[in-house]
């Protein structure tokens, strides 16, 4: 009996040690991208599954390419009648309009009228005439939000939640994990990453920022994310087409309908809310270094960016948490 108890104690200690040291990750293909949640104990799995369920729920509501989604319903009824979506979709659009106002339209959720003309998987770029015709349908101030209803007043207007939905998803997944008592996890929806607390050992979660011209695992900087903070990156390398010697990327300037050309190739924003880091990264990319960084810092958010010369800039709020490993080689295209 004594021997059995000794074995049991030994095994328990061994199990406890293993659990403390291990990190686990669950990955799914959701929201048109790779979603992974990193966690530190096997006992966290039911909460992680609940977070994935929440993301599946959001995907059904927010996917602009799914005709059954609430976003598609709003777009279909443009110029016809208001639509009353779920609280999620309404809250996301409301937050998007706040960001649109703060960024003076550099981020604009109604950019869909133009951005959805670009078909990157099939390498199709709209003509300048097509873009010109649709530009009058872009403008967040035209949108009506009232008593739970959303209305796009002009036929042909389209909302595209692409620059904010993944951040919102990361915030919501983190909220589910926290509500279920998880203290240490990291939610990553492609480039939008949200920490739940710190790592189990009390150290910050470490997030690498992708080298804009490197391979999938090449990171030019590493950020030690403060507890419960988020980081998002927008770059000209995620979806793009090279045509006639020019790079046409997916970050569309709502004012011109063309891929943003503000002298940047990669922008990362960090701060407490992933919904904001996601949309701000897009806005800073469009606004350019000077105006973009000034805006982000005024909101208490840090910026790490790479310009078209490969120069790396780290803003004051991001400085204490960022280690730049090397200067990325950004040659031509």
């Amino acid at each position: 009996m004594k021997r059995t108890v000794a074995v049991l104690v030994f095994l328990s200690v061994l199990l406890a040690c293993t659990q403390q040291k291990s990190l686990y990750r669950k990955t799914e293909f959701l929201m048109d991208t790779i979603v992974s949640i990193t966690f530190s104990s096997r006992a966290d799995l039911p909460a992680v599954d609940a977070a994935f369920s929440r993301l599946r729920q959001l995907e059904k509501k927010l996917n602009v390419f799914d005709p059954e989604s609430e976003v598609s319903a709003i777009n279909r009824q443009a110029g016809i009648k208001p639509v009353a979506p779920s609280k999620d979709t309404y809250a996301l659009i409301k937050r998007a309009l706040e960001v649109s106002e703060a960024t003076r339209g550099a981020f604009d959720i109604t950019v869909g009228a133009v951005s959805l003309l670009y078909d990157f998987p099939n390498k199709k770029i709209p003509s300048l005439d097509q873009i010109k015709q649709r530009l009058a349908l872009v403008g967040f101030r035209l949108m009506k939000l009232r008593k739970g209803e959303v209305f796009l007043p002009k036929k042909g207007m389209r909302i595209d939640p692409g620059g904010i939905a993944k951040g919102y998803g990361a915030d919501q997944a983190a909220k589910v994990l926290k509500a279920r008592g998880i203290k240490h996890a990291l939610v990553a929806i492609a480039g939008d990453i949200k920490a739940v607390g710190t790592r189990a050992d009390g150290k910050p979660w470490k997030v690498g920022i992708k080298d804009p011209r490197g391979g999938p695992d090449d990171v030019y900087a590493v950020v030690s994310l403060p507890a419960d903070w988020a980081i998002s990156t927008s770059g000209d390398y995620e979806r793009y087409v090279i045509k006639d010697g020019k790079r046409y990327h997916h970050i569309i300037d709502p004012h011109t309908g063309l891929p943003a050309e503000a002298g940047l190739v990669s922008v990362s924003c960090m701060g407490p809310e992933a919904t904001l880091t996601d949309s701000l990264a897009t806005a800073v990319f469009i606004m350019g270094k000077s105006r973009g960084v000034k805006l982000a810092e005024s909101l208490g958010y840090g910026v790490i960016l790479v310009d078209t010369e490969g120069e790396v800039y780290v803003s004051p709020t991001a400085k204490a948490y960022t280690k730049v490993l090397y200067k990325p080689k950004v040659n031509g295209l």
Partner: protein, 122 residues
């Protein structure tokens, strides 16, 4: 000296066996952070999968569709549009890489993130 097995010993062993089996069953539902399979086409990541995610995945490459199969912690190229089929002939891999040059495909089994990094913001 003769050791006698008591009823308590049996109960403790049964409990231990149950705990082990539960852990084993749970392990099938997710993976340790360094037991991943990544599939890249033309330098762009198409899939990150757990070794436990049995299934057949179609990957679009420049010369056509490559069919990748994951089964019980190993991966193989089931079919490929490439002319010489070296990637198919490589068979099952538990750890390491399968490369198909004509279809610009790289499969890495047992992949992990760069050292000291928990996630990549891209």
């Amino acid at each position: 000296m003769r050791t006698r097995i008591t009823v308590t010993d049996v109960v403790v062993l049964v409990v231990l066996a149950m705990v082990s089996l539960t852990g084993w069953a749970l392990a099938g539902a997710f993976s340790s952070a360094d037991s991943l399979i990544t599939i890249d086409v033309d330098g762009k990541r198409q899939y990150v999968l757990d070794l436990s995610q049995n299934g057949i995945y179609t990957v679009h490459g420049p010369i056509g569709d490559t069919v990748v199969e994951i089964e019980n912690g190993r991966v193989r190229v089931k079919s490929s549009p490439c002319p010489r089929k070296y990637c198919v002939k490589q068979g099952w891999v538990r750890r390491g890489a399968i490369v198909c040059v004509p279809n610009r495909l790289v499969i890495t089994a047992g992949a992990s993130l760069p050292e000291g990094v928990d996630a990549i913001s891209e």
